[in-house]
């Protein structure tokens, strides 16, 4: 019996390792390509690891295009939109759970329906609206779009999470003499932190990776975001400047990876709690 368990454990771990290799391979390939000289990238017999380490592609990216400015634009838009989304979603989710009204279900339904619309369908009306209020070609306009785009999903996650917190906890705090503010900040907030972290991470990564809105809304080269900048390394008929594109992609991925490492516990806990108990 013991042997069977050991074998199944080994098999499971083996499968997990294979799966991780499968997931990591594209990333490894991109990192390796970013350090290969161009001739090695185009070699007919490709190798996983570079035969010769070259920093030329990184230098080309750093000197040639506006990678850091575009990263800064993406960062500003990502952080501001995330803050706004969280500030709106947390009290909204709390209100929807704790103050039952007839429109709650309609709101939840609308949140789901809003996820159905493809970007291309809403692009032109959104553009016209933003132009009317003078917010095209501005990071403010893009931030507002990202807020609107991420808010429904974040609200859904927060709604599920708030619902999973027993009302009795708040009632007990009130019985102990806590004010509503104290209940919210001393009882609820510590419990909500994992979900807030996960939602914030989701909102930030959505904004960081978004391409089409940024492409269409931002006209000035100085306002281009990271994803738009990366697309400029690709050309017609499947061609690409592979080396610089790989180097730029590695640079572009770093902030997300760092953020993910710091917040991964919140992400899994927040998502799972919201999903299961909502």
């Amino acid at each position: 019996m013991k042997k069977t368990i050991s074998f199944s454990k080994i098999a499971i771990h083996g499968l997990i390792i294979v799966y991780i290799i499968f997931l990591l391979f594209p990333l490894l390939w991109v990192v390796a390509s970013s350090f290969k000289p161009t001739q090695e990238i185009y070699s007919g017999s490709p190798t996983i690891f570079p035969q010769q380490i070259s920093f030329d592609h990184y230098l080309s990216v750093i000197n040639g295009q506006q990678i850091f400015r575009s990263m800064w634009n993406s960062f500003v838009v990502g952080v501001v939109s995330t803050l706004i989304v969280v500030l709106i979603a947390v009290p909204s989710a709390y209100a929807m759970v704790r103050y039952q009204s007839k429109v709650n279900n309609a709101i939840l339904g609308w949140i789901l329906v809003s996820q159905i619309f493809p970007v291309i369908l809403v692009m032109i009306p959104l553009y016209v609206l933003l132009r009317y209020i003078g917010l095209t070609d501005s990071l403010t306009g893009l931030t507002l779009i990202y807020v609107v785009w991420s808010l429904p999903f974040v609200l859904w996650i927060m709604h599920g999470y708030v619902k999973s917190i027993p009302m009795e906890l708040e009632e007990a705090a009130v019985l102990d003499g806590a004010t509503r503010t104290q209940v919210i900040f001393k009882v609820l907030m510590p419990l909500l932190l994992p979900a807030i972290g996960a939602s914030a991470l989701f909102a930030f990564i959505s904004a960081w990776n978004e391409f089409f809105f940024a492409l269409v809304l931002m006209k000035s080269p100085a306002l281009a975001t990271l994803q738009v900048e990366l697309a400029r390394y690709t050309g017609m008929e499947g061609q690409a400047r592979t080396g610089p594109l790989a180097a730029a992609s590695v640079i572009a991925t770093l902030p997300s990876i760092v953020l993910f490492i710091f917040m991964r516990k919140w992400l899994t806990k927040g998502l799972v709690s919201g999903a299961l108990k909502g």
Binding site: Y42, G44, A231, R232
Partner: protein, 440 residues
């Protein structure tokens, strides 16, 4: 109380940031420059474009041009959104097959009144034909000609004692097939073929097939009255059958051709896996010059002859959207950007044929190095297919031609089945345009 203050301060900070960004943007746009969206993407081409824009800006302080880097993959969605919303760039770079579609949909300024006699006479007629409607409207100024070339590995051909074709003695498709069979072999004796005579890039092969069909006497699109219909006759079938035979009958074309683009075949060309790359864009030469191993020796073949040596061509263009309020100024910039000298700079950096006759006589374009001489001499064998004037062609290419051709070359359809599917599905797509009354 303190918590409430934190909330209020946060909202004020965010509000201030929003107002700051909005005001800053408005300040920046008091005297807007002309906006030029370029699709140049190679380092050299970007540098040349920027350099020309800088030269213009230095001499035109009151009419500055802002260089905006576009992307090929998203150019269509980007442009259509700007056309529909009205917030258009003043000048944009694209290709003739799409430009024609935009012109029909009324998105573009007719540039014919603005074209100088010098430009009119110096640009090749075949290039003008790619952007001119039957009523004389011009949707864009062509400056680079995209053509298909055949590249070959000199060392491998020499090893087999094969003499490459010359302009005076071009190969026929039969010659090409015979050579491809000879070059296909198992070089290390392990029972597996490791050197193929030919590599194609057939992943999205509609462009290749359409342009090559002209040399077989076909064209797919035929005019019936005011409208176009798609017919796959014996000429078109012969071309399809030739490629299918090379893939499956004599197996002289690498099976990797089926799922790869021309660019994706280049590493295999370097390693000697394919002796010849057939129907790759002339830009492919740049990849070879810049990335091939030092010992790699290669050449360009003149167009392969079927019934004729004529091949379809398309052009890269500069256009002005109809909703641009500064068409005259935009055309002044285009005139400067596409002068003979600048067109030559752009063509050399993009490794394509310049659309101006005066450029073709420059020594750079008659150089044997890089295959410029053969590539540019093929100008006399270029023609414009009727599909360039067909309403719905762009949609047809992506919804009918590419998917059906993929199935054909993957061996899931016979040539007759593919021909039936192309004709049948084409009429579904094109009839919608017919219903809207769109005529070329």
């Amino acid at each position: 109380m303190m918590k409430r203050n934190i909330f209020i301060i946060s909202f004020l900070l965010i509000g201030s940031a929003l107002i700051y960004f909005t005001l800053r943007k408005n300040d920046d746009h008091k005297n807007p420059p002309l906006r030029f969206v370029s699709l140049a993407w190679q380092e050299g081409a970007i540098a040349t474009n920027r350099s020309i824009v800088n030269e213009w800006n230095a001499t035109h302080p009151n009419m500055q041009v802002e260089y905006i880097q576009g992307t090929w993959n998203s150019a269509h969605d980007y442009l259509v959104t700007t056309f529909e919303t009205g917030d258009v760039p003043d000048i944009f770079h694209y290709e003739s097959s799409v430009i024609i579609d935009y012109a029909m949909r009324g998105y573009l300024t007719d540039l014919s009144p603005y074209i100088s006699p010098e430009m009119k006479s110096d640009i090749l007629d075949v290039a003008w034909a790619t952007v001119t409607r039957p009523n004389g409207e011009v949707g864009g100024i062509p400056f680079l000609i995209e053509s298909l070339v055949v590249l070959y590995n000199k060392s491998l051909l020499e090893k087999e004692g094969i003499v490459p074709p010359t302009r005076e003695h071009p190969w026929t498709w039969d010659d090409l097939q015979a050579t491809a069979r000879k070059m296909t072999k198992d070089t290390n004796g392990d029972g597996v073929i490791d050197q193929y005579g030919v590599g194609f890039g057939l992943r999205n092969s509609a462009n290749i097939i359409m342009n090559t069909s002209i040399s077989f006497g076909g064209s797919f699109f035929k005019k019936e009255g005011n409208y176009y219909v798609v017919k796959v006759n014996n000429e078109e079938k012969k071309l399809l059958q030739t490629i299918v035979d090379m893939l499956y009958k004599d197996k002289s074309a690498s099976p990797a051709s089926i799922g790869e683009t021309g660019a994706g075949m280049i590493p295999g060309f370097f390693s000697g896996r394919y002796a010849m790359l057939v129907s790759i864009g002339s830009w492919g030469r740049q990849q070879i010059v810049e990335n091939a191993p030092k010992e790699f020796r290669w050449g360009v073949m003149p167009p392969i002859k079927a019934q004729t040596q004529m091949y379809g061509a398309s052009t890269q263009t500069l256009s002005v959207p109809k909703k641009s309020k500064r068409a005259k100024e935009a055309m002044m910039f285009i005139d400067f950007m596409l002068s003979s000298k600048n067109t030559a700079r752009l063509a050399l950096n993009d490794w394509m044929i310049p659309a101006r006759k005066s450029c073709l006589s420059m020594p750079e374009f008659q150089d044997t190095l890089g295959g410029w001489d053969i590539t540019c001499s093929a100008v006399s064998t270029l023609d414009v297919g009727p599909w360039l004037g067909a309403p719905g062609y762009v949609e047809w290419k992506s919804r009918v031609a590419n998917p059906v051709l993929q199935e054909l070359f993957a061996g899931r359809l016979s040539v007759d089945e593919a021909a039936y599917r192309i004709e049948h599905e084409s009429n579904i797509v094109l009839s919608r345009y017919k219903k809207h009354g769109e005529v070329w």
